[in-house]
């Protein structure tokens, strides 16, 4: 971890997301808003269809960082902006691609900033997604 360099890509992953995954997240997180599982309800409130929980996408994105670090406790800070919703049609689903790149290294503090890009259907769905990690 000591020789981490700015610009180094530390993880790339493509994740398939289905309605079933959103139902599981709804139960596990306690966020049971029907826009995340009920097509009729989602359309009634003006959405194009069921969308993933922003927090679900945020959670997916940081997995590559945890796996790179080898210790979930080394994620000291993690923040994102939710810029675009991830539509999850049924049948089918969505593919979310995650790329994690080292954006800055602080050798004195022993930390690094990892910049995350999350895309679905060709558009970025998270903005300013950054994790500060202990190396």
């Amino acid at each position: 971890m000591a020789d981490v360099e700015v610009g180094e890509v530390v993880g790339i992953r493509a994740i398939e997301v289905t309605r079933g995954d959103l139902v599981h997240y709804a139960g596990a997180s306690g966020d049971r808003n029907p826009i995340h599982w009920n097509e009729r309800f989602a359309r009634e409130v003006g959405l194009p269809g069921v969308i993933a929980h922003g927090m679900f996408t945020m959670a997916l994105a940081v997995n590559v960082v945890v796996d790179w670090l080898g210790d979930p406790g080394r994620v000291l800070e993690y923040g994102v902006r939710f810029t675009r919703p991830v539509q999850v049609p049924d049948p089918g689903g969505a593919t979310v691609t995650i790329t994690a790149t080292v954006g800055a290294v602080d050798p004195d503090a022993g930390t690094a900033r990892v910049d995350l890009v999350a895309e679905a259907a060709g558009v970025k769905v998270l903005g300013r997604a950054q994790a500060v990690v202990r190396l």
């Binding site: 994620v75 800070e77 923040g79 939710f82």
Partner: protein
């Protein structure tokens, strides 16, 4: 009814302790595809120096959202949840959450601003353990569309 901007600056009393269960952490980790063994296997977590399985970095939102309900579900605050979009989320972990933790949360309403028919509500949850030591700070911003 518009959002009551007078709630900005408010701090709520500490919540009752939220008990973090091992099976809940495993289920949350599975739900988000977090396959690192420290989320699932007690022995793997102990090898890394933790007392029990470790929460994924975003798990604190579960505890924070329960505390945020004090504001969101308060009819006098005027937040129509059907018009809410999650705009931003930020975690600062003072230490990792592990199974067996009992977490008390103090909810702060940091700001309520309105512009162009959109209200931005920023809350901050300060999570601490039974010893009173800080665990996580969770800052969340909701965007609430105006009516019509």
């Amino acid at each position: 009814m518009p959002i009551d901007a007078g709630y900005a600056g408010r701090a709520y009393p500490p919540t009752d302790a939220y008990l973090v269960g091992r099976e809940h952490l495993r289920d949350f980790a599975t739900a988000v595809g977090a396959t690192h063994p420290a989320h699932h296997d007690v022995a793997a977590a102990r090898d890394l120096g933790y007392d029990d399985v470790v929460a994924p970095p975003t798990f604190a939102v579960v505890i924070a959202q329960a505390a945020e309900a004090q504001l969101i579900a308060d009819p006098a605050a005027g937040i129509d949840f059907s018009r809410v979009v999650h705009a931003e989320e930020r975690f600062t972990h003072h230490r990792p959450i592990v199974a067996g933790d009992a977490i008390t949360t103090v909810l702060h309403v940091d700001s309520i601003t309105e512009r162009a028919g959109l209200a931005m509500v920023t809350t901050r949850c300060e999570l601490s353990d039974v010893a009173g030591e800080p665990v996580s700070t969770v800052v969340s911003t909701l965007a609430v569309r105006g009516e019509g």
